[in-house]
Assembly symmetry: C2
Homo-oligomer: 243 residues x 2
């Protein structure tokens, strides 16, 4: 989807990237070269090149003679990633507001409609724990922001923002917090507000809304993490009030 599909190393890197951000390869997992080579049906050479790329991208950590492992991200790093993305998203949204064409606006509206529908289906159906549906919702969420990146016509901003976004994916925490209706509802409302500001050609307004949107998402994700941790921590001490 990005670029480079001519060489095995690149397509393997893409596949591993996808596997990592989708949570298929859990953080902390060590990636053995030989095992990957037989999984992809190639020799170790392209595997190593793919791993180099992932290391440069920051998705895996590389320890010289001891192999690579899927990067584990601390709470501080998570917070920082959101702050950075808030900044980049602000910039992208401001630029998009200035450069948005009629087609872009239509695409944004379409993406919002799609996202809104997904939100309704999740909230209405009560099937919040449906992992497939949640995945679809996340993709629709990304699609909305992708329209903004595209309209901003700023490749570097797009690359960095998507990189920051990747950082806090793969932690498989969204699925853990799917019961939080607030998340879905507020995301939808904020998207509408951003879209309205863009349509009204209000770059500063769109900027601050985008910023607030990302920061709010970050705060919410942290709250979800707290909740998840609070629920799983007591396992060490089996004496729970209720079974």
């Amino acid at each position: 989807m990005d670029a480079a599909a001519g060489t095995k190393a690149d397509e393997i890197a893409l596949a591993l990237e996808e596997a990592i951000v989708s949570g298929d390869l859990t953080p902390g997992l060590v990636l053995r070269q030989e095992q990957l080579s037989e999984r992809f049906g190639v020799s170790r050479t392209p595997i190593r090149e793919a791993l180099r790329r992932l290391a440069a991208l920051g998705l895996v950590s590389f320890v010289p003679n001891r192999g690579v492992r899927v990067r584990t991200i601390s709470r501080d790093e998570l917070r920082e990633a959101f702050v950075v993305r808030a900044e980049l998203e602000s910039l992208a949204t401001e630029l998009a507001t200035l450069r948005m064409t009629a087609e872009d606006l239509a695409a944004l509206e379409a993406a919002e409609r799609c996202f809104s529908e997904l939100t309704l289906r999740i909230r209405g159906g009560g099937s919040a724990n449906d992992r497939g549906l949640v995945g679809e919702w996340v993709r629709a969420n990304h699609a909305f922001h992708d329209v903004i990146y595209s309209a901003a016509a700023a490749p570097l901003v797009e690359r960095l923002a998507k990189g920051a976004r990747r950082t806090f994916l793969g932690q498989a925490v969204w699925a853990a917090g799917t019961e939080i209706d607030e998340l879905y509802e507020r995301n939808d409302l904020q998207h509408r507000a951003i879209q309205a500001a863009i349509a009204a050609r209000n770059p500063q307004g769109a900027r601050v809304m985008a910023r607030e949107h990302v920061l709010a998402s970050g705060r919410l994700l942290e709250a979800i993490l707290d909740q998840v941790e609070a629920r799983s921590r007591p396992r060490r001490r089996p004496r729970r009030s209720a079974a």
Copy 2:
């Protein structure tokens, strides 16, 4: 300096990175694997891994079966890189203001003093065209900002900001504009202003000053580029008013 020096591939990547940003390897130059392998005294394997890393970092462009070349950056990309760095630098400076310790402040002051002295030497000596001195000045400039990154205690911001900074190095344009006194003087003044705002614990003030500083540098670099291009373009049409 960064990390990873255990493997040949990593140290080669570092060396090539240095060579690119220092302008030793000019943009557009094709990098032959075999030629690099004999230059570094290793086989092609670590070379290829190093090139993969540089490609992921965006310093070289990778065309599947046709080799890699040092990335050439367009005017639009240059502008975008400055806008991005302005944003990241704003963030870093705000965070640094909030988290700055007494030692950090002392280090910042020392860096500024060093930078100020270099500026004086360049302006006073009139030896602006001394390439070595200019290089020293650029390093001192970086050192000042590095103190801010360090104090911000935000590794991701630091990584991205340095990446954006690398983007417009290696274009070997700074040396071309060394006769512009305004550059040196204003940089020094702005650094002092930023330092003062940080010392006064004024995060918002420091933020906007950092932003303006980077944007001003970007505008100046563009002006220099215009000037350089205007001077070299007419070569195609030899009829000049004055010889």
